[in-house]
């Protein structure tokens, strides 16, 4: 058997739920695997439903020809975003590096198989989008029979180019970081800069479309996606392949994907060992001199340990601290440009003023800060180190109190700074500002305790790669998705209520509700934590 296939097969088998179900007698583990499979099936169903609804919208307004463009764009964006966060951890700096590299595999084979593993694992998500949109397109556009197989075949190639671009950027970041002593810090800073640059690019592109006087209608979205296809050629190759049955475009999409794959891994393979050696090595200065040591309480020391755990991992830091950074950036932008300008820029002239938006300030800041709570993943991140805290003369509730304290240390200062900046920009009265700050802090407490409940309830200590815990775990998904959607809904609700009721009253009501909920979740976290003592 080809060595690439042998390695790929082992990589897939090593994270396969089916394999766990087949060979594991532990009923709890089996139940968890089944539960995770059901949860994933729900998410697939949700995504497909969303895509079908989108097609119905297109079909209803006679814009169904835009469906292939939207499908390609959606898959490309998701492929790019998901890959950039996974590159460090999957492609570089992975746990079983020593074992794999000591086997007779070429460096480029290991790198390429790791990439293909990422591709195959995420393929069902892209195919579910594609299948749903193909169904919608088929229903409204009545295309020829040839479109169906072409669409399906090309769907396998669509995510390749964005994933390869993201991997190559991850490679450049890793390559640069490898030249520094503090590889971890440099890698984190470069990744954050890169993600922020991508976000800005999105607004620059939107601005281009806005300058073209595109109207805020579904039609404008289709024009926008059409314009995007002109900027990102694989989208138009896909679209032309299925709408005009253009063989040239088909060959372009397949040819460029395959050639890019070969080129990327030829380049990556050349310095793969060097980069991984640097990323997996930890420089030792051996200059430490014994000095008087500081003492901390047990809770404080757990919080400090969490800080060191976070700063020691690029994946952890980028995912947990990105929201905080974005909140401050939004705060600074509002302060510099003015809240009104930001509102009109984001909402494209929708009839919402800074005054109307005031009561939603804490929720807007919380949208970024509460996006991810360190408490949702930190219990599982203990992984093989779980024995350390379990063997200490500490109650588990103290451990979780320490973890929650760390999340409060991480979120509250950013919440206060961002809220203050937005309030100053919106010229919010002092009392309202104080209430917004209090609401913001209460929201941080809620995020902390909610995350902790999810983290303990869906504890997963056995993992191959920390990305599995930080980005893909049940705990993080169950915390993040409802939290994000509810925050968006609450922002709209608060703006609406603000037009009818006094802002202070609204804030007080939300402080009370959030505070009670945070308290209940805190009690639950402590209860679930204490159950681990037995």
């Amino acid at each position: 058997m080809n060595k690439n296939i042998i390695l790929l097969k082992a990589l897939l088998l090593s994270t396969s739920r089916m394999n766990t179900l087949k060979h594991c007698d532990d009923k709890k583990k089996r139940r968890k695997a089944v539960g995770a499979a059901i949860g994933t099936a729900f998410l697939y169903a949700f995504i497909m439903f969303y895509c079908i609804i989108m097609c119905i919208g297109y079909g209803h307004y006679g814009l169904i020809e835009q469906a292939p463009v939207m499908c390609a764009l959606l898959i490309s964006v998701l492929g790019f975003v998901f890959t950039i966060f996974k590159t460090n951890g999957y492609l570089f700096n992975f746990k079983e590096y020593d074992m794999l590299m000591s086997l007779p595999f070429k460096s480029s084979t290991v790198a390429a198989c790791k990439f293909l593993y990422m591709y195959i694992k995420s393929l069902p998500w892209y195919l579910s989008i594609s299948a749903a949109m193909l169904a919608g397109y088929g229903f409204y556009a009545h295309p020829s029979a040839a479109v169906y197989p072409i669409w399906i075949v090309l769907s396998f190639f669509l995510p390749l180019i964005p994933m390869l671009i993201a991997s190559f950027l991850g490679f450049i970041i890793a390559r640069i970081s490898a030249g520094f002593r503090k590889t971890n810090i440099v890698q984190t800073v470069l990744t954050v800069i890169f993600v922020l640059a991508c976000l800005s690019l999105r607004f620059v592109i939107e601005d281009i479309f806005t300058d073209n006087k595109v109207e805020q209608t579904l039609g404008s979205i289709s024009s926008a996606t059409g314009s995007a296809a002109n900027y990102y050629l694989p989208v138009s190759w896909f679209s032309d392949s299925v709408t005009r049955l253009s063989a040239t475009d088909m060959l372009f999409l397949i040819g460029v994907s395959v050639s890019l794959f070969a080129a990327v891994f030829l380049i990556v393979g050349k310095t793969y060992t060097k980069i991984n050696s640097a990323l997996k090595s930890h420089a030792a200065s051996k200059k430490y001199r014994m000095d008087s040591q500081k003492t901390r309480s047990a809770v404080q020391t757990i919080a400090f340990k969490e800080l060191k755990r976070m700063t020691g991992s690029t994946n952890y830091m980028v995912n947990v601290a990105m929201g905080e950074l974005l909140a401050v950036i939004v705060g600074v932008l509002t302060l510099v440009l003015g809240l009104d300008k930001i509102i009109s820029f984001i909402l494209h002239g929708a009839p919402i003023s800074a005054d109307m938006l005031q009561p939603a300030i804490p929720f807007i800041v919380y949208f970024f800060i509460g996006m991810m709570a360190s408490t949702a993943c930190s219990p599982s991140l203990e992984g093989k180190n779980y024995w350390i805290i379990k063997s200490l003369p500490l109650e588990m509730k103290t451990v979780y109190q320490g973890k929650m304290l760390f999340n409060m240390y991480l979120t509250v200062p950013f919440m206060v700074i961002a809220t203050l900046m937005m309030c100053i920009s919106a010229k919010t009265p002092a009392l309202d500002t104080a209430l917004y700050l209090l609401l913001g802090i209460t929201l941080c407490a809620f995020s902390t305790t909610r995350g902790c409940v999810c983290g303990i309830k869906h504890l997963k200590l056995e993992w191959e790669n920390e990305i599995e815990v930080i980005k893909q775990s049940a705990a993080v998904t169950i915390y993040m998705l409802p939290n994000m959607f509810v925050t968006m809904a609450l922002t709209v609700l608060v703006v609406f209520l603000g037009t009818k009721l006094d802002h202070k009253l609204i804030s007080c009501a939300f402080i009370a509700v959030t505070g009670i909920w945070a308290f209940i979740d805190y009690k639950r976290a402590i209860k679930y934590g204490s159950e681990q003592d037995n």
């Binding site: 082992a10 766990t20 056995e462």
Partner: protein, 241 residues
Amino acid sequence: MSNKAMLEIKHYSKSYSGSKKAADDVSLTVESGDIYGFIGHNGAGKSTTIRAVVGVLDFTEGEIFIDGHSVKNEPLECKRVTAYIPDNPDLYENLTGIQYLNFIADVFGISAAERDKSIKQYAAAFEITDALGDLISSYSHGMKQKVAIISALIHKPKLLVLDEPFVGLDPKASFTLKEIMRKMCAEGSAVFFSTHVLDVAEKLCNKIAIIKHGRIIASGSMEELTGGHSLEETFLEADYE
């Protein structure tokens, strides 16, 4: 007549950006039939050297040859004849023991009959046959170590490189491993391993190198090195100097 050099390390140095050299001008030769012990304090540079030998760690200074092939320029040829057992084997936790062994056997292109024979033989020797159908995640450290050892042996390597191989092994498994090492060397292979257990090194090795602060401070045959003293005394004396 001198034996064939299975491993030649020539003036190998490794430093991490901005820090002291982890390995500094290391040179040694392991010939076929040798059981070569590599001893030194924690952080002396043993693992850094071993990881470079097996092609896991890159290096810019010096050269390393395995069976005449350069680790830098012909890594695949080197890896085909080498087996490496790290001190803390990170195996695929969600594979069963037998799935993992089959994966390694597939990589080395071992025939079904041959792998059946080897796996049966070594699994029985390490008393792990019953557990081979279980997920590796359910194994103890020692059991993982045993699977890593079996995976290293099934392709009959010419050079076996081990980093602290006896840590976590039960007494019987340690004995079995020592017997296997002796047998391999009697058949013309070579073993290069690091250890802190000086008694084991003294009884098992015919050659020793002592590394301190990344530099080889003493090396040679056991007799030359110890001159009738115990290895422990020799090590402490060399270390003191």
